[in-house]
Every structure is written in structure tokens, then in C-alpha cells.
Symmetry: C5
Amino acid sequence: MEAVINCAAYSKGRRVSNIQINEIGDVLKQSDRFVWIGLHEPDEHLLEQVQQEFGLHDLAIEDAHRAHQRPKLENYVDSLFIVLRTAQINGKEHRIDFGETHFFLGENFIVTVRHGSSLAYTDVRSRCEKVPDLLQKGPGFALYAVMDFIVDQYFPVMHELEMELEAIEDKIFKEKPSRETTEQIYQLKRELLDVRRSVSPLVEICNRLMRFEIKCISEETRTYFRDIYDHVVRISEMIENTRELLSTALEANFSLISISQNDVSRKFAGWAAIIAVPTMVAGFYGMNFRFMPEVEWRYGFYAVILFTMCACFLLYYLFRRSGWL
Amino acid sequence: MEAVINCAAYSKGRRVSNIQINEIGDVLKQSDRFVWIGLHEPDEHLLEQVQQEFGLHDLAIEDAHRAHQRPKLENYVDSLFIVLRTAQINGKEHRIDFGETHFFLGENFIVTVRHGSSLAYTDVRSRCEKVPDLLQKGPGFALYAVMDFIVDQYFPVMHELEMELEAIEDKIFKEKPSRETTEQIYQLKRELLDVRRSVSPLVEICNRLMRFEIKCISEETRTYFRDIYDHVVRISEMIENTRELLSTALEANFSLISISQNDVSRKFAGWAAIIAVPTMVAGFYGMNFRFMPEVEWRYGFYAVILFTMCACFLLYYLFRRSGWL
Amino acid sequence: MEAVINCAAYSKGRRVSNIQINEIGDVLKQSDRFVWIGLHEPDEHLLEQVQQEFGLHDLAIEDAHRAHQRPKLENYVDSLFIVLRTAQINGKEHRIDFGETHFFLGENFIVTVRHGSSLAYTDVRSRCEKVPDLLQKGPGFALYAVMDFIVDQYFPVMHELEMELEAIEDKIFKEKPSRETTEQIYQLKRELLDVRRSVSPLVEICNRLMRFEIKCISEETRTYFRDIYDHVVRISEMIENTRELLSTALEANFSLISISQNDVSRKFAGWAAIIAVPTMVAGFYGMNFRFMPEVEWRYGFYAVILFTMCACFLLYYLFRRSGWL
Amino acid sequence: MEAVINCAAYSKGRRVSNIQINEIGDVLKQSDRFVWIGLHEPDEHLLEQVQQEFGLHDLAIEDAHRAHQRPKLENYVDSLFIVLRTAQINGKEHRIDFGETHFFLGENFIVTVRHGSSLAYTDVRSRCEKVPDLLQKGPGFALYAVMDFIVDQYFPVMHELEMELEAIEDKIFKEKPSRETTEQIYQLKRELLDVRRSVSPLVEICNRLMRFEIKCISEETRTYFRDIYDHVVRISEMIENTRELLSTALEANFSLISISQNDVSRKFAGWAAIIAVPTMVAGFYGMNFRFMPEVEWRYGFYAVILFTMCACFLLYYLFRRSGWL
Amino acid sequence: MEAVINCAAYSKGRRVSNIQINEIGDVLKQSDRFVWIGLHEPDEHLLEQVQQEFGLHDLAIEDAHRAHQRPKLENYVDSLFIVLRTAQINGKEHRIDFGETHFFLGENFIVTVRHGSSLAYTDVRSRCEKVPDLLQKGPGFALYAVMDFIVDQYFPVMHELEMELEAIEDKIFKEKPSRETTEQIYQLKRELLDVRRSVSPLVEICNRLMRFEIKCISEETRTYFRDIYDHVVRISEMIENTRELLSTALEANFSLISISQNDVSRKFAGWAAIIAVPTMVAGFYGMNFRFMPEVEWRYGFYAVILFTMCACFLLYYLFRRSGWL
């Protein structure tokens, strides 16, 4: 895949032309234009070019090259650097794939840099181009559109995790306790913490985009970030809820393990009692006393066996009725 | 059910006339009037009409169409958009049904939009119409009346959950441990978290209605929202209390499961000891020694059986007295 | 009991006269006087009278009529409405009885309204009358005196709960685990949460009385509320401490249940081993081999029994020494 | 022990003269002097004298007479009242003894009032007198010196508690589970909560001494309280750490109890299996069949016993190797 | 090792000369120079010299001599005193070695004082000297470089701890429960708390370096501390995550211990049942009844043994199939 996915100039919310990286400088001189570039895992050389064209800060470029950042917003003198983490369910392996997207935002440009697993933003861009009256609000609106897209990707992820929790609940309350259930609870906890790590810094980022005086984002665009903020808070609540239920599930699972141990013990004790009867009877008639009348009877042996079996069945019936077996 | 439940114009706190959606514009021009509309799951077309009549923001209308929002208050330039979640006990299934109500509030209008399960607000409206001196304070008072009604619906819900907790307590401390109790604790936790998710954002919403300079709510109406605030805080406290007791109940339940396991083990051990006596005695007299005087006695067999039974009863009595059985 | 417990006018800290509700208006006109009224579960009519005499807010009067409020402080234009919860140990049943007291405070009046179980404030009033130089600071000092009395009632309550905790500790660490201990821990937790619900809002109430500009409380009286604040914080700390110890106690109790289960298992195993010896020996000599020399001996039977008993005692001694039994 | 431990006037950081309580008034008139008094459990009369000499507030004097206060700082018009709790290890009983020290601080005086168990401050005073250039900064420096001394006393206390935790760890991980360990964990938790109750309010007290405009403490002295603040924060961290480790220790202890229960069960099962072999064999040869060739053999009996023993040893060896016994 | 590792004067970001401690005064007089000194566990005498040359505060020097400080930042009139804790993995023993580094920072000097185990900063210094355009920003940049180096040392430490957690997870979910796993969980918790104690105060320190008006750090240098801040927050998040997973691991471990106890009990019960069959059969044929036809058969003995073995195998097969054994 090429590193430059898309590089276009916009005027009044409409795409004017696709341009080359080195033509950017010229375009920026035209006051009514803004440039929107989409990069995918660019090499150092490309980033340097971009840095020169837009005059970006060293530290931001350094960060944009390395992945594995924490989501953050850095406000430089006349540009903004934002790091977000993307997430999506890996269909085949039922795992969450995390990626990263970095944004450089200026008054008349926006650069998105994708790292690792994440969907392309081509769709978002074409959807934006369909509403030129919104897109003409500037690169701030483009930022909103992509961020909104990224944040919305967390809903199916959380939905998947909630489904996993429900599967675990079914296992806990309907099946007998197993090592696998415990391990699944643990793995789900791990995934939740991963998602939380990606989402929780977004609350503050949105807050700053909504409230503070950030030059590159116009007043009317700011309202839109409230929308993202709401989504982020909802996702955070879903995470917290799932986490709390998971803790309770772990404890409930534990209780049920103990109850099923009680059941095992009780069953064992019951059967031991039933088996003790014939053993005892046999023991008595195995004694070597000279005078044991029953022993002389013709059908004594069968009578004793019959009697013993009846006693066992009676015991079994009694235990059963009292819920002991 | 029709989408427009009610649409009326008020003047000096009295209902002047029922009007059509398209007459609203004319009514709003009269300075002493305000309009109160009640909608139930309106379609897109109706919402668009309403948007045009009152000049509402795109994002708010979009939200009002989708349900499954988080409770929130959005302050637009000259209108307010509020989302609340309603709750009520479903009598038949003993479940909580959640619904949503959205409000648009302007200086001379209020629109309520109900989604999902919730009681109609017709009663609230007629109660308001009985106190024209309060209703003439404007749509802010109407907002207060409906919000108060919604929040008060949470009290029976919490009461139901507290009753469930008490039922669980009885099961834990008075019956023997069962899988059902553990599952009920878990389900109650789930319901509590659902209610909390609906109620906790209300604290901030009320705070903003009480304290901040929100244009559409007059100074004297603001005092009323303190009342709602108090109720919300009380409900939150009830939730927290129930949650904390539930955690303790889960742990107590666990302790009692273990104690009842101890009981099972102890009982088993006791009976095993009692049964060991005849087995041992029988074993001894089953040995093939040539010289075993007792064996020669006429009533030896019965004497031994009698002796064994006595020994067993003595053991039983001793175990009983020491609380072991 | 009558609803009006006490109704008196004060001047320069001294009681001038006992008055009737309908004379209040006249008294209030005299600039150097203030009125202190004590009510007990007043009916609606009486509250209406009081409202008219002092010009109180509708919402406050409504609240004062209903009990079961959360402790709160409402600051109306020229009066203050305070709700406090009172608590006292019910000597006979070892339960905590909760009550409520509401205050209306103006520049020259104070009304106390008692609901449910609580001690009368007659003693507080007479103690105040003994220090006219303090009482002349106005109704703010009377408020302080009654609040101080109410808050101090929580110390014996907390003392009782701490004693209960110590009784539970003794049971946990000195007696063998029982279902009752677990239930007592749970009940104590419940009581603690009830007390906390009554006390925790007091922190903010005292804070507002101490710090904020509340008109009806003079600057020099404000210092006194710091004293109540200290007591409230101390009670809160006692609650938190007891709660934390209780959680640890529940876990410790659980550990000890498990240890005592270990003991049961170990004892059972030990006795089973001891009993296995004679069974095994008897089994061997019960075999039908033709050539078993010992069987022919005259005292073989007794020798074997003696030997078996010795073996059992040896085993018992060894188990005992190793701490297994 | 006398109530007045020390009463001296200082000028330019040097002790000028030892004085009597009733001479204080005269000394205070000299502008370059300050008075430092050390009291130990004074009676009401002495406190009244002190109150008159320095003009202290009623509430503060009342507090100074009663012990069992919460640590606090009260800022009166021209004096400061501080309550601190002291702690020290009681060598013999390995318990923590708590005491209280109260301070009255004015622009030219400091009074320390000791209650209960605590070291005397004579050493602190003489150390201060050795650095007159620091002591001439006024009573604020004396306050710093004594507070620093009090706070530093918590380090050996915390050290002792940390040693106790380590002793508990050793017991948990190296010895077999016992009731005593669980009780010790609980007692350590209790002590930790006691220490925390004494230390945690110090954070805010130091904060106010460092940051706020407190008249009696000169700007340059304020820096010194940052030092105490650091110590308090370190002690708080030690407490929190120990508390968190203690919780984990309680849970780990619990896990190990369960593991050792598993061990007991497994051992029991293993031995039961080994003992089952001879019982079964003996049973078979105890059957009364007419044709059992082995029974006729001359050494059949010994052969069977030998065979059984070999089988038992083999079983034992196999169990041992698989780690089951 | 000598106490003075390095002592050099810098001008315009380039090292001008290596100097002696006593020459510092002269160098500082030259307006465009700054001095960077690196000390390693200096004695009191050396520290006094340094104090005189730079005019440092008594309290700071006292702190710099003692190790075992809490990380902190103290802002003196014209200098800054910073304490950081360093950490590194001790390769051989798999332990974390902690050390301390103190900084004195003025407008034209920086002193680093290393205590205990830590890497030397010679590499950092030479890396700085390679970027003179950055180093000429003054001692603030040198501070940034060393702090960045110290903070980055925590990443391999956290990586090691995360690896330990994964090793523990493997043990919990793949091996059978053991005492060692529980102890390892506890030890990991201890290490995590140690690291947290070192890292958590850094958040506030970085915050103050970034935001507040600290004279010795120029505006443009301040941006760099944001970078350190990000790293600190990431490390803190790693710690919190690991801690939370560890708690869950402890609980999961506990569940699995209980499950494996269930397994032991079930296996034991199963084998006991299988062994009960021959015992019972043998008992019956050991009875002394006169008329037991089977006993007379020629191959009765072998038939019974065969039958018993078949019954045992059948039982074994049934138990196996139902997952009981």
C-alpha cells in the first residue's frame, strides 16, 4: 500500500484538485483553500517533507513516526497534534485489533496518519464531500468527521465484549463450573482494560476541543465535538458497567463453585451411607458365632441379600426426598 | 397511537386553544403566549416540521429521532435540549422497563418527545393547568413538572429493588444456600447498574438547571429544580446503599455456603464414625481363631449385636451433645 | 402530646414572655426581639399559620410536613430551611431509632419541627437561657445549640455500633464459626449505612453555615458551627473506620471458616486412619487359609486385639504429637 | 509531674529568663520578646490563667481541656489553635500509645499542652536554643520544631508496623495456615487505621500553614512547614502501601488455606486408596468358597500378606512420584 | 568512584572547559555561560562547597545529603530543588534496584547528585553536547534530558513486571495450583507498589514544570516537559493496569484452587465407589450361611472375582464417560 492515500485541496467545501506533497506550499498561499492529506504508515522522509510544507514542531513529527502513543492532544503555537487509538473486532480470531491515528491540524490543513490495523478514511472523506456546506467550515469539520468515525468504531467493539459477558453469564449460571469460564473472565477483563486505556483519555481531549480556545477550530465547529464527547462518555460507561458486572460474575462464579463442592460432598456422603448398609450386614453374618439361627435357614442367604437391598433402596428414597442426593 | 398527543397554546398559565403544528408560528408571534407540545415516537417528517416552526439545531433533532441516548442537557443559542431516561416496574414480569423523553425548551415553547415505555404526561399537564399562577411562569415550570414526574417514577422502582434485596437477604440467612440466590444477586446488581446509568447524569443536569445562567429558565422557576435535585440525590444514595449491601450480601452468602460445607463434612464424619463401630466389631468376631470363648456362648451373637447398637447410640448421643452432629 | 411544645419571645438573650402563635406578628415588629418556637409533628393547619406569620416559602412548608427527607440546607431569600436527621439507641431492642428535625431560621425567629423519634429540645432551650450573653447573638445561636445537641446524639450511637463490632470480633476470633456471626456482620453493615446516610450530608451543611454569606447567621456565631463541623467529621471518620474494619472482619471470618474446615477434614482423616488398623487386622485373620499358625494359639485372639489396640494408641499418639489431631 | 513544664521568655532567639505564668503580661509588652510555655495536662484553673494572659478564645480553651480531639487547625483573629495527635511504640506490649498535643500560637507567644502518652519537648526546646539565629524568627519556628518532632515520631511507629507485616508475610508463606495469622492481620489493620486517623488530617493542616496567609507565621518560616508536609505525605504513603499489601496478604492467606485444604484432601484420598488394598484382598480370601486353591497352600497366608504389602508399597511409591502424596 | 563525575562550563550549547568546583564562582559571572556538575554520593564537605558557590538553601542541601526522599519539587527564590527516584532491573537477581537523583537548578547552573544504584548520566551529557542548538536553551534543557533518561528507565522495568504477570497467568491457567504462584502474585504486588511510589509524584512535578511560572525554565523549554509528562502518565497507566489484572489474577487463582478441590473430591468419591464393589461382594460371600449354592461351585471363587472386576470396570467406564473421573 502506498503511504500517501489521498492528498487534495478544498475550496468552499468542494474538492478542487488532487495535488502532490510538494505543491502544498503553493496551495496554502491561496487564502480560501485548505488541504486534506491522508497518510498510511509514512516513512521518515515523507514525514520530513510534510513537516517542511506545514512547518510542524519537531516533537510532534517524532511522535507521529513512532506508534504506541497514548491518546493525547498537544496544542502548538499554530497547529494541533492529536493522537487517537482505533479499535476493531478481528472477525476470525475474536480479538480486538488496535491501531493508531495521528492528526496534524492547522488553520488551512489537516493531515491524518494511520498506523497499524484500522479502516481507511476514504469513506469518511467522500461522505464529507457530499455536504460541502458543512465541509466549508474548514479542516476542523474534517477532524470532527474522522474522530466521529473512529469513536463510533468502539460501539461494535463494546457490543462484542458485552456479548462475551453474556456468554460467560450463561456458562456460570447454567453449566457446571469449569476452568475455562474463569480464564474467559480473566481474558475479558484484560480486553476491557485495553479498551479503557484507549478510550478514557478521549474525555479530556474532547473537553479541550469543545471548551478551550483552540485557534484552528472555529466556534461553530466546536458544537460538533460535544457530540463525540457524548459518545465517548457512553462508551466509558459501558466499559465501567461491564467491568463491575465482570467482578460480580467472578465472585458469583466462585460462590457457585463452592455450592457445587457442597453438592459433591453431599452426594458422596449419601452414597457412602447407602453402601455402608450391606457392608455392615455382611460383616455381622460373617461372624463365627456358633449359634446364629438365621444362618441355618435354607433361604437365609437370599433373605439377607433381599433385606439389604430393600434397606439400601429405602435409604436412597429417603435421601432423594430430602434433597440430599 | 398518534404521534401528536397534545398541542396547545397557553396564556397567563391558562390553556387558550388547541392548535395544529403549522399554526405554531403564528402563536409564537403573540408575546404573552407559550406553546406546549407532547409527541410520542414522532417520525422524521413531523420532527422536521417542529424543527422549522421553532428553529431548532440539526444535531438536537437528529438525537431526538434516535432513542438510546445518555441523559444530557445541551444548551444551544436560544433553546435547550434535554434527554432523560424514564423507568417503571413492569408489573407482570417484575422487570424494569426503560424509556426516553426528550425536551426542547425555548423562551415561549416546550416540546416533549416520548420514546419507548413510559407513562403519558397528560396527567401532569392537567395538574399544571389547575395551578395557572405557577404555570404562568412559562415553559420552565412545565419542564419542572414533567421532570419531577419522571424522577418520582424512580422511587417505586428503587422500592421494588430494595424489596428484592430483602427477599434475597431472607433466602441467604434463613434458607440453605442455592444456586438461585447467587443468580438473583447477580441479576439485581445488573438492574441496579441500569438504574444508576439512568439516574447519575441527572445530578449534573439539575445542577446546571439550578445554578447556571440558562436563558429560557426564569430566576424564580430555578428554585423548583432544587427540589428535583434533592430527589435525584436521594435516589442516587438509595442505589449506592443497595449496591453496597448487595456486595456484602454476596460475601455473606459465600461465608454461609462455606459454613454449610463445614456442616456437611462434620455430619459425614460423625456418621462415618458411628458406622465404623459395628464394622470393626463384626470384623473381630469374623476372625478364624480357634479359641474365642464368646463365640461359643449361646446368645453371643445377640449379645454382640446389642452391645454394638448400644455403642452406636452412645456415640450418637455424645456427638449430638457436643454439637458435632 | 401537643403540637406546640414551646413558643417564646426573647430580648437580649432572656425569655421575655411565652406567646401564642397568632401573637408572633406583633412581637416581630419589636426590633430587639426574636421568637423561638418548638413544634412536634404539627398538622397542616398549624404549619399554615406559622407560614403566614413568618412568610415562609411554599416548598419549605411542603417539605416540613412530610418526613423522610434527606438532610439539607435551603437558602431562601430571607430565611433558611434546614433538615437534619436525629438518631438514638433504642435501649430495649438494641436498634437505632431515626427521627427528623426541621428548622426555619430568619433574622429574628427560629422554628424547630420535630418528627418521629427524638428527644425534646426543652433541655437545650433551658441551657441556652442560662447563658443570655450568648443567646443574645440571636436565633443563629439557638440553631447552633440545637444542632450541636442533635449531632452529639450520634456519639453514643456510634459507640454502640463500635461495641457491636467488638462483640463480633470476639465471636470471630474466639468462638467457632457460626451463621449468626455472619448475619450480625451484615446487620451491622446495614446500620452503619443508615447512620452514614444521616451524617454525611451534614459536612456540606456545616460548611455552608461556616463559610458562606448566609444573612441570618451573624459573623461571630459562625465560629460556633466550626465546632459542629469538627464533630461531624469525627463521626464520619468513626463510620468509615468501622466500615473498613467490618469488611476486614467479614474476610477474616471467612478465612477462619476455611481453617476450621481444614481442621474438620484433618481430624476426620486422622480418625479414619486409626479405625482402619483394626479393620485391616481383623480382615487378615478372617481369611480362610488352612495354615495360619497364630490362629491355633490359645490366646491368639486376645493377643491380636491387644496388639491392634496398641497400634491404634501409637497412631493416636503420633498424630497428636504432630498436631494433626 | 507538675503541670507547667517550662515557661520562658526569649529575645533574639536566646532564652532571657524563666518566668511565672502571672508575669507573662509584662513580658509581652516588650516588643522584641516572645514567650514559650510548655504545659502537661493542665487543670481548668491553670488554663483560665493562660487564657487571660494571652486573650484566647473560649472554644479553643474548652478544646484544650478535653483530650480526644481530631487533629485540626483553627484560625482565630489573632491566634492559632492547633491539635495534633502523637504516637509512639510501647516497647513492652508492642502496642501504639497515642497522645495529644495542643498549640496556641500568637505573634509573640506559643503554648504547648501535652495530654496522655507523649515524650516531653524539653529536648526540642534545648535544640532550638542552640540555633538562636533560627529561633529568633519567632514562635512560628518553635511551632515548626515541635511539630517536626511529633511527625518524626511516626516513622518508627510505621517501621514497627511494616516489620509486623513482614512477620505476617513469613507466617503466611512459610508456615501452615493458622487462626493466629488471620487475627494478627486484623489487628494490624486496626492499628493502621488508628495511625491513619491521626496522620491524614495533617496534610491539610500543613497545607494551610504553608500556603495561606496566617498572620502569626512569618513568610520565611513558612518554607519550613513544607518539610513537615513532605514527611506527612511520606507517612501517608507508607500507611496506604501497608494497607494495600495487608489486603493482598489477607487474600493470599486465604488462597493458601484453600491450597492446604486441597493437600489434606489429596493426602487423605491417597492413604485411603493404599489402605483399601489389604482390606479388599482380605475380603476375597475371607469368602467361604469351597474351592479356593491358594487357601490350601502351606505358605498361602504369608504369601498373600507379602503380596499385599508389596502392592501397598508400589501404590505409595507411585503416588509419591506423581506428587499426589 | 570519585564524587565529582563531571564539572564543565557551557557557552552557546558547547562545552567550553572542564572546571574545578572552586572556579565556579568566576564562571558564573560571565553572562553567557552555564555550569553543569554531576556528583555521585558526595560527602558533606563537597556539598557545602557547592552550596556556597551557588548560594543554595539549607533545607535543600540537607535533603541532598540524605537519600530516601520522596520525589518532589521545591521552588526556592532563585533556584529549584528536584528529587527523583531511579529504577532499573537487576539482571542477576530479577529484582528492581532503586536509586535517587537530586537536581539543583538555577538560571545558569544545574547540579545532579546521584545516590544508590543508577546509571551514570555521562551518555546523556554527550548526547546533549551533540545538539548545541538545543543545549543552548540553558540548564532547563539539561534537566529535561536527564529527567527524560530517568523516566525512560521505567519502561523496561514495567516491561519486566508485565512479563512476570504473564508468567504468573500461565502458571495459574495452565499448571495446577501451588503455593509458589500465590507468593509470586504477592511479591509482584509489592514491586508494583514500590514502582508506583516512585512514579506517581512525577505527575505533579511535570505538571508544575510545564505549567507554572518557574523562573529558571525558559518558555520554549517548557514544551519538552510535556513529553516527559506523557511518558509518566503512560507508565502510571501501565502500573494501574497491571495492578488491576493482578487482583483479578489473585481471585481467578482462588477460583481455580476451589475447582481443583472439587476435582480431587470427585475423583476420590469415584474411586471410593469403585473400591466399594469388591468389598461388598467379598462381604456377602464371607457370610457363614449354611446354604449358599454358589459357594459349592467348583469355579465359584474365580467366577466371583471375574464378575467383581467386570463390575468395577463398568463403573470406571461409566464414571469416565460422565466426566466424573
